[in-house]
């Protein structure tokens, strides 16, 4: 009897041994596949940008606001993206200004204050909100927000930086809330109890204990919200007014890089200079998000070292 039990145990371990290697490989492949996808995207964009990378005047590209990609015959084309760059960065900044406080506050409420049915209801609501297609958000900007902004600010054009910032901000909120809520919930209850026992109020627990403890998760939530705001195309196209200019007021129309690609890709003849330049715009977006992520990583590492 003891002999037979030992045998089965040995067999079992052999069986799992046989799976050990393939599973390890499978997991390895899954892990590296993200790098493969990233490389493939970069190659795709570089290939699309192709000949224009060397042909383009890079100084003009970053310092001029003149964007005339398909001039009439006999005229010089101009590829200056400064205005779009400012448009993208300003709408994103405004969006974050709205979505980060709103998102974090909502996450704190859902995770720490709401209970029972209210909590469940709000979570379902947020998921629903996250599932609204971007074109619908854009439409809300176009049909609801634009007239409101026209009335409130007394401006001609309701589709502008403010409109775009609000719409992109609201779009990022569900993402930020759900990720921050996860991060807050992952903080062990023991922390809360320990702080409570010291006589801390709920707000003190949130600011002094939960935020520091969940710092990395919260930062990740903000970064993903930022990614969403930078990358959003459809809503940006509809809500920002799509005017290629550097805004001098919050109510000026702007144009984003993403919206430019979306609007012009259809009309640029394949393999024309215009077509290739649009890929360079994609490359710029790629670099911006890359830089943002690296900076976020450094921030996380930096705070880890200091505290």
């Amino acid at each position: 009897m003891p002999d037979s039990t030992r045998k089965t145990r040995v067999n079992k371990s052999l069986l799992s041994d046989r799976f050990e290697k393939p599973i390890e490989w499978l997991i390895k492949i899954c892990g590296w596949s993200s790098l493969a996808a990233l490389t493939a995207i970069l190659i795709f964009i570089l290939k699309g940008a192709g000949p224009m990378i060397s042909k383009i005047n890079w100084v003009e590209f970053f310092t001029s606001t003149k964007w005339v990609p398909s001039p009439g015959t006999g005229n010089e084309p101009h590829y200056g993206i400064l205005a779009m760059l400012v448009g993208t960065l300003s709408t994103t900044a405004l969006a974050l200004l709205i979505s980060v406080p709103l998102g974090l506050a909502a996450a704190v409420y859902i995770s720490e204050f709401a209970t029972g049915k209210v909590k469940e209801f709000l979570k379902v609501l947020l998921e629903l909100l996250a599932a609204i297609p971007s074109i619908v958000w854009g439409f809300i900007g176009l049909m609801v927000l634009a007239p409101l902004i026209q009335n409130w600010f007394g401006v001609q054009q309701g589709r502008n930086l403010l409109n775009g910032g609000i719409v992109l901000g609201l779009m990022s909120v569900p993402l930020i809330v759900s990720l921050s809520e996860d991060a807050l919930r992952a903080v062990p209850d023991a922390y809360r109890e320990a702080a409570l026992a010291l006589g801390a109020s709920k707000w003190e627990i949130v600011f002094r204990v939960l935020f520091p403890a969940a710092r990395n998760g919260l930062l990740a939530a903000v970064m993903l919200g930022l990614g969403r705001a930078i990358g959003e195309t459809m809503a940006a196209l509809l809500a920002t007014g799509h005017a290629n200019q550097i805004p001098s007021a919050i109510t000026d129309p702007v144009r984003t890089i993403t919206a430019t690609i979306a609007a012009e890709m259809g009309e640029a003849p394949k393999n024309s200079d215009h077509y290739h330049v649009l890929f360079i715009l994609g490359l710029v977006l790629f670099v911006i998000t890359g830089v943002v992520n690296v900076v976020a990583d450094l921030v996380i590492k930096g705070t880890k070292k200091h505290v």
């Binding site: 320990a194 010291l198 006589g199 002094r208 520091p212 403890a213 505290v307």
Partner: protein, 250 residues
């Protein structure tokens, strides 16, 4: 000695489940009162009734009275001030995500102690009382969560002492600490008894025997019996008490 804490017919239910069944006992000032009993006997729930952190468990329903120096804790308007009077040490070490120094200075600072020298003095005294000072004095600005488990546990003890509480509750404080350090802390606790009442929840019956003036035996949400240390260990009224305290239970 006058009564510091009195439980009068206190019951706690979590929904339908009974966690504490009609506890009545009195704890004298400046004494060590030990609660022993197996898991799920209501020890931790009982502690939570004293500082009213039980109120954060939605399903919990408390009946009966918990009296602190004759005053019903439910009648204390400022619950935070109540909690500051009671130091709590939890079974698992929880270094708050702050530096070692800030873990201890946190509560005094909140109470308005701004003077750096005064804070330094509090931090050093508390860390010495929890037998941690020698190990951390050169790295007070390190994250508390980076200490070892046993060190973190002593850090939570230091934190609990930081407001010079009138009651110190220790919920199985020594499970993450080695026996030598445990003995050192026990010595310190016996001295602290001069200044505060100590409630000790422990799985180690020998620890109760060494330290406690009074011992209560809990089992299955019931307070089986309580009395003076010597009587409980040598002449328990109920057979089950004697068997548990002498390690013959189950």
């Amino acid at each position: 000695m006058s009564t510091h804490i009195e439980f009068s017919d206190v019951s706690v239910h979590y929904g339908q489940k009974r966690a504490v069944d009609r506890f009545s006992f009195k704890i004298a000032e400046h004494s060590v009162f030990a609660f022993v009993g197996p898991a799920n006997s209501g020890k931790t729930t009982m502690l939570k009734c004293i500082n009213r952190t039980i109120e954060f468990i939605d399903a919990a329903k408390v009946t009966g009275q918990v009296l602190l120096k004759g005053q019903d804790v439910k009648a204390i308007r400022d619950v935070y001030s109540l909690r500051r009077r009671i130091g709590m040490v939890f079974p698992l070490p929880v270094g708050l995500p702050l530096t070692v120094y800030e873990n201890v200075a946190y509560a005094p600072r909140r109470m308005g102690v701004r003077n750096k020298a005064e804070l330094d003095e509090i931090v050093e005294r508390c860390l010495r009382d929890s037998v941690l000072w020698d190990e951390v004095k050169d790295r007070l600005d390190m994250l508390g969560t980076k200490l070892s488990g046993g060190q973190q546990q002593r850090l939570t003890l230091a934190r609990a002492l930081s407001l010079s509480p009138e009651i110190l509750c220790l919920d199985e404080f020594s499970i993450a600490i080695d026996p030598v350090t445990t003995m050192k802390i026990e010595d310190v606790l016996m001295q602290l008894k001069e200044k505060m009442t100590i409630i000790l929840v422990t799985n180690l019956t020998q620890q109760a025997r060494r330290m406690a003036d009074h011992v209560a035996f809990l089992n299955d949400s019931e307070l089986v019996e309580w009395g003076e240390n010597e009587a409980m260990f040598n002449r328990p009224k109920k057979e089950i008490t004697g068997r548990y305290l002498n390690g013959e239970f189950g």
